[in-house]
């Protein structure tokens, strides 16, 4: 199962990519994707507590199960306005 991962602001700087493709197991949650990424990019770990996440541009909890082709986004604390 393949998903697109979108990364913003400092998360994008850390990973060096605004968009990544990742293979995940069926039944995987957003949290599983996050832990996989945090394994690749240890600097991400400090965002564990302040992070928000989304599926297909809607806020979603880390325990939400994802589907094939979903767009997963990880959002550091926002600073718009």
């Amino acid at each position: 199962m393949r998903v697109t991962v979108r990364l913003f602001a400092r998360l994008r700087d850390i990973t060096g990519a605004s968009e990544l493709a990742r293979d995940v197991a069926p039944g995987a949650t957003i949290g599983d994707v996050w832990r996989q990424l945090a394994g690749e990019f240890p600097e991400l770990a400090s965002y564990e507590r302040s992070l928000s996440s989304a599926i297909n541009a809607d806020y979603a909890r880390m325990d939400q199960v994802i589907g094939d082709g979903d767009e997963i986004a990880f959002l550091p604390p926002v600073s718009g306005g």
């Binding site: 913003f8 602001a9 302040s50 806020y59 550091p76 604390p77 926002v78 600073s79 718009g80 306005g81």
Partner: protein, 173 residues
């Protein structure tokens, strides 16, 4: 052509544009637009512009770069319009956010509200900016004399009722 009520993009923002957008809106909730002329129901228009400041936390700011998850930011704006429609049913909202590189003095956000009475227009306008800062997936990258830093606020889940209540408390005198 009337500007859209809710928008995010790279074009400079103008007060007249946001005011024209909200003036053209009609209906009973802030998220509805029909392009019709205003009907004389409203007695108050309040606008807010957020400008890039030359100082932030003791740093001399050279410029900002705003980044957004655009489709999700638009959804956040729609949610804010809907919240305003629920809390201030007679108020209408227009909200434009700029992204990309912004120089000192340029506007990053323009908000306009209209309503029959001024209290609602002031409150809805203030509520909108507080909620944008809480829930819109937009980030500022600050370039200052001597370095750069991503500004990180305190994201609230849009369903966080405590954050929403705090925005409402600030908005309502």
């Amino acid at each position: 052509m009337t500007p859209p009520l809710l928008a995010i993009g790279r074009d400079p923002l103008a007060l007249d544009g946001i005011a024209a957008a909200v003036a053209a809106s009609t209906g009973t909730d802030a998220s509805t637009s029909s392009g019709q002329a205003p009907d004389g129901r409203d007695g108050a228009v309040v606008t807010f512009l957020g400008l890039v400041r030359n100082h932030n936390l003791g740093r001399s700011v050279r410029y900002l770069e705003y980044e957004a998850y655009e489709p999700m930011a638009l959804k956040a704006f729609e949610r804010i319009a809907s919240e305003i429609g629920a809390r201030w049913p007679s108020a209408r909202l227009a909200l434009h956010h700029r992204i990309g590189k912004l120089l000192v003095g340029e506007a990053s956000i323009a908000i306009a509200t209209r309503s029959p009475h001024r209290g609602d227009a002031y409150a809805a306008c203030r509520y909108a900016i507080e909620r944008v800062k809480q829930i819109a997936p937009i980030w500022k990258h600050e370039f200052f004399d001597g370095g750069e830093v991503w500004i990180e606020g305190a994201t609230a889940n849009p369903d966080d009722q405590q954050a929403r209540a705090e925005a409402e408390r600030i908005a309502c005198a």
